[in-house]
Symmetry: C2
Subunit: 530 residues, 2 copies
């Protein structure tokens, strides 16, 4: 497949701009061809104007058609074959097996949303029928359902070039709710972005949808990001990436004359708590699992466990030395790009310099030519951690910090002093967990997902998943970016009062032609309204 | 009932501060006793620290207990008897009949939420059970439900001293979701606020809840408002009031180190569209209904219809002259306070000064001593409206602006150029409405509730109501401040992975002890998990 190296605005490959950038193979340490042309502000405007026009069409499109569109995207991505994962691997340093898995997840996620919109009950239809003889005043007929929000700007993430990128959860959930999408592809994998964007474009064409339903802009320029977020036609933003970038987008959106929501998934330390019984019984197993979880994808998972609280006691010394051995013998891994590798190395050094922090760093140094991250486990005590806010922060890469607590009270104090995370994990025996109910309770305040005897890396895409959490994990802890509930970011209620049946959306008509579940006077039913 | 004239922090009447303010009877033009002591920043801090401690308790309180607490609040408000509506009438100029109606609505609203939490399915429980033999990887058990968000700051509104104030929809929906609340009472009705706050305080005590569950601060100082919104322990904000005040709170919350959501319901012009068939058939009736809707509560409803688009044609002249006659013969009405009356009069003058705007203002001038608003209907043409953004804005009071459109195309252009509103209304015949499907569609983009052949004043409190809309109607069009869905502002999902059954909240346990509807693998059921 030949790459064009340009942005795609409204199914068209747009004329090349002067400025270009290139992708880089972090494993080989080599620049990749072709050069990619930087999107312009005029293209941002063009994409959003087309998207606004497409939104007018999409609101009237049936849910079956949206489901077909999603299925067509899934098929077009699969049709790209190995060329897609090969390019993605070259651009990210992630191996082919991992990328095949990520492609499967991406495609399954698209099919899950197709099923959700085909079934249709997700629109939260509510009907309070008229009561003409109510005293003192008659009750009017009120019906409510979720409707599309309008053009959505999506920012691709670097660490999941497929599942959180051009056709990732943000784009697909926005489409599922009948919204057009303008993606800014992540500049570290522009070729992957173009291939997936062309697949979506084919699906837009084959389904006869408005050309403005999808655009994808290639850019390394923060000004283009801000232009996307502040464009008057943009109605919501989906983002996965760093705290700094996510906060910048959030701030720009909040300052608009009409503020819009930014659903940014950002920094997360994903604390792990090892309870005394588990430490004693399973310390070696937990150390092994933790090590593998931290090293997964060279530590570049939003859910990578970056902090581990352990109460000193039987098994602690063995736990620490097992981890020390694992990490000192570990091999440096390729990181997504040199910027990320540099950021990781610098923060690791800053952590090590904190007085009271001990470190076990991989003996083998990272290679100079390519972007590698050196695995490390750091160890400190509770007081040192509590008094150094730097040690509360995420360091995106293959490192974790063990915090030794002197008592159960210190463990609880830690939970009360943690920033928001996507996940929090407890390792314990079934017998001891009930004594730690307070810890479980406190973790509901600081994490979106709480795991028992597991590791947070690996996020199930399903109905019950919540991939979100209090700031700085996300900018809005009410919403998830993974799983079917992700669709609720891109829809809003509209209420119809006293409307003639035929003028209502099908979901709200008396006969319930879509046969969805609806809350009638607050009770869920598929029954008709008499 | 003797009023203490102070704030109430954690069920205690707090020591009097030096600075005081008084309420004012806008009808009588008289200062009311006693003086009220201004809350201090130290009291804000004390209220939030207590609220945070109470949040720890509330998370563990059963839903039945929350329902009893709400019922106790309703009973205590009713027990205040006529003293409450009499004080409210003196402080707001609203008549006793209206206030008795508002009290009934407030109490019914509380009982509706009590029923909602007792039933319990609102928590959106989702369970994806484990599939140990799934290939290539086993699926872990994932369960998710909504949990409390933490201390909520609520700002009472001036125009509904009961239904949108100390025990209004914001406070009650926050309690229903198990959150403590700190209210800043509106300074125009401090006596009413104190009476209702004491009723809530009695309910907190009789139910044996933590004292920090509720506090109410009396203040005229914007610094206290900002202190409430920026306090580290505040997790969300509910507000009903002016665009300027709402936006100031939103901006302060967005600039926090950890931003929090502000659910502000603010300015809304509530456009009305009169279609040609309705104008011809029912012009006189619509003019009468519109006039009454605009004058209701002296125009001080968030849903007051401030803009009316009418296509010139048969019946237009009669419609305009009927309205002209109604308004010129109308009597000035008491407004909530002199500040609001002044703001209304100034904006009305500014509207009148726009070249191309004709006015029919009540002949009788407002009285000098008390806060009165002079009813007025203004008339202009589409082009004048389109080119003067001032005429797109809300003027809170008994005035409306008729915009004469030359064609159906101009009507559609109007809909495309409107700011966000809580409501939009169409008057039409059942026969002509289908020809205006595009108008209905466009209105879903600019209003939260669309009415057919009705008037937007009067908001049903039910399951299907959506009292929200795009900015500037609210700061978050996804949420409603009226109806049961208002609870979703103050809850957030928490997901449990691989948890022992006994350690899960009852709502997520296998046996479904609360017998709620739960989505199991995406299908709603009350069945147990096997």
């Amino acid at each position: 497949m030949t790459l064009h190296g340009t942005s795609i605005v409204g199914t068209e490959i747009v004329p090349a701009a002067q400025k270009t950038f290139t992708a880089f193979n972090p494993k080989a340490g080599q620049t990749l061809q072709p050069p990619f042309h930087e999107a312009t502000e005029a293209q941002v405007d063009q994409a959003l104007e087309l998207a606004a026009a497409a939104a007018d069409q999409l609101r009237g499109v049936g849910s079956d058609k949206i489901a077909s569109f999603l299925q067509a995207i899934a098929a077009e991505i699969e049709a790209l074959g190995d060329a897609l994962v090969e390019r993605a691997s070259a651009e990210t340093g992630l191996d082919l097996e991992r990328l095949r898995g990520e492609r499967a997840r991406t495609v399954n996620q698209i099919k899950l949303f197709a099923g959700l919109v085909e079934e249709g009950s997700w629109v939260d239809a509510r009907i309070d029928p008229a009561i003409p003889d109510r005293k003192p005043l008659p009750r009017v007929d009120i019906r409510r359902m979720l409707q599309p929000i309008g053009p959505v700007a999506v920012f691709g993430a670097s660490n999941f070039p497929l599942a959180f990128s051009v056709a990732g959860g943000d784009t697909i959930s926005a489409f599922a709710a009948k919204n057009p999408v303008v993606v800014k592809g992540h500049p570290a994998h522009p070729g992957t972005s173009e291939m997936v964007a062309m697949a979506i474009t084919k699906a837009v064409r084959s389904q006869g949808l408005h050309e403005g339903v999808f655009s994808m802009l290639q850019s390394t320029d923060p000004k283009i990001s801000i232009a996307l977020v502040t464009h008057p036609k943009t109605k919501a933003v989906g983002f996965t990436g760093s705290l700094r970038a996510g906060r910048a987008l959030f701030d720009a959106a909040a300052k608009r004359p009409n503020p819009i929501p930014v659903y940014a998934e950002m920094g997360s330390v994903n604390p792990v708590f090892v309870l005394p019984g588990a430490l004693k019984a399973d310390g070696a197993k937990i150390a092994d699992g933790l090590y593998k979880s931290v090293l997964l994808g060279t530590g570049q998972f939003c859910t990578s466990p970056g902090l581990v609280f352990v109460q000193t006691g039987e098994g602690f010394d063995e736990f620490r030395s097992a981890l020390g051995e694992f990490f000192t013998n570990a091999t440096p891994g390729t990181m997504l790009n040199s910027l990320i590798a540099k950021g990781y190395a610098e923060k690791l050094e800053a952590f090590k310099k904190v007085s009271g922090v001990q470190n076990f760093t991989a003996r083998k140094a990272p290679s100079k030519g390519c972007a590698e991250g050196q695995p490390a486990v750091l160890v400190t005590d509770f007081r040192t951690w509590l008094s150094n806010h730097l040690l509360h922060e995420e360091n995106f890469g293959p490192a974790t910090l063990i915090v030794q607590c002197a008592s159960a009270a210190e463990v609880l104090e830690a939970a009360q002093n943690l920033d928001g995370s996507l996940t929090a994990t407890i390792h314990g025996t079934a017998e001891e967990l009930p004594q730690h109910a307070k810890l479980v309770d406190l973790l509901t305040c600081i994490a979106g997902r709480i795991l028992f005897n597991g590791f947070p890396t690996g996020v199930e895409v399903g109905y019950a998943m919540h991939h979100g959490g209090p700031y700085p994990a996300t900018t809005d802890e009410k919403f998830t970016s993974v799983g079917t509930a992700a669709i609720y970011r891109f829809a809003k209620p509209v209420c119809y009062q006293n409307f003639p049946d035929a003028m209502l959306p099908p979901e709200l008509q008396n006969a319930n032609p879509r046969n969805i579940l609806r809350a009638v006077n607050g009770k869920l039913t598929r029954d008709n309204i008499q």
